[in-house]
Amino acid sequence: MSSLAVDGERPVVLEVRDLSVSYGKVQALHGIALKVHRGEIVTVIGPNGAGKTTLLSALIGLLPASGEILYLGEYQGAGRSVEQLVRLGMTLVPEKRELFSEMSVEDNLLLGAFDRYRAGHRDQLETMDQVFDIFPRLMERREQLAGTLSGGERQMLAMGRALMAKPRLLLLDEPSLGLAPLIIREIFRTIAQLRKTGVAILLVEQNARAALQIADYGYVLETGELSLAGPSSALATDPRVIASYLGLGGRR
């Protein structure tokens, strides 16, 4: 693998230039450019229907896209597939969680390591212990069927399952969706802690306040285009962001 481009101090994991996605004749994303470094949390905030989920689906290869996607220093062309990118350490936690609901929590987690297992790694049990350290609740529920979990536990399981793949880039799609405020805080605290493991995180969120609190850098996505970008502390105090996404409570 070619050496990663270094931008400032940390290597760039993902760089996207001029990315566009269309559903038939309708263009859903237009001219997107963004960058994620190793050990960094980058968030893309924006309202419903702005194209946030489309962006992540295009990145991981579920949707065809035009433009340049540079992942780990290599161009991912039109022939990119989900399976290839998963093998290269890109993992998506989808908005709908997509759990295996009639399987136990433990089996869901093990399947998260399926591709590593297939590639010859047999360390899934140790990885599972690490995931249990991050989400002790999953340890308690390990025998339970995934379909019987609460909303917060499902999100934990979806994230735990993604971590079983030991990702280098974790794509998180609306982890706060449908969760109670206390649970959201817990989930976001965990996401912030993941940064220490060196994984790069691209977090797509409607809950701008929570996302900007933990992110290093942020983008605002509106009707398919990035309208603002900057360090998240700057975004959090930007009057336009406050007016549209944070409301008055966002003022420090």
Binding site: R87, E98, L99, F100, S101, E102, M103, L111, F114, D115
Partner: protein
Amino acid sequence: MNLQIALLLGQDGVTSGAIYALLALALVLVFAVTRVIFIPQGEFVAFGALTLAGLQADRLPGTIWLLLALGTAIALVEGGAALRQRRYRRIPLILLVNCAAPLLLAGALVAVSPAGLPLPIQVLLALMLVVPLGPMIYRLVYQPVAEVSVLALLIVSVAVHVTLIGLGLFFFGAEGSRTPAFTEVSFEFGEAVLQGQTILVVVASLVLIIALYFFFERTLYGKALRATAMNRTGARLMGISGQLAGMLSFTLAAAIGAFSGILISPITTIYYDSGFLIGLKGFVGAIIGGLASYPVAAAGAVLVGLLESYSSFWASAFKEVIVFTLILPVLLWRSLTTRHPEEG
């Protein structure tokens, strides 16, 4: 009917029921993972039986030509794709798996006279000839259209079925074959005689069912297949591609089919087109299980076997009619009791 006949018929029914159960499980598996209603399942039964018979008669089974042809076709398709994507390192592996391996098998069959080999080796050879056809057919025929509707996949299945029937006639001829029994042992229970072969069929089926259970419950690959059946997108995101799951389920289905054929060929004469009816009875069992439940499908298939056996005694002219009529009340009951989301 006296007790002796009742026992004899029951024994017959359980034997065929065990085979139908295996086929029903394969059909449920393939449908759950790939949404394909695998009508050609029965052809694998016939191919398995007739390939073994061919080996025992010291003929080169026609299935080897099919294996070579499909292997070459896949090598062309995959090799072409690898060239276009400039992934040249994959080409030797593609050639090795799809061309060299079948050629090696063909060479081995020509070099040694298979008729003189011990039975287990002959069975193994027959399986090696027939089982790879499953994943190969998936790769060539189903995978390119994997995303189309269930109905379109069904039509593809009909086409594959008709093609395989034609090839079966071409390869094996119109005469039926029967292989010698695996065992000549028989037991007497009072007035009833229990054939060793019957016990073998039932035991082998049970062992295979238990092995499948362990595969699905205990191994990561088995879990991956179940995961694909439950949530296709979720499975893809874990790196379990539709292609991998499809090839794996078709391999299992082909193995179950060919093995069933080998098991029953000493009991009944198999013709090139016998597989279809056998497969269809497995399908009735699978339908009883709603193409979703493995235990109900297996139980349904045993019921089909028993019903067939007893109806052949009382109304032998109508035995197929009676068996297939069973599906009507089942469908009626299912359509009244289950609400299922319409698939697009």
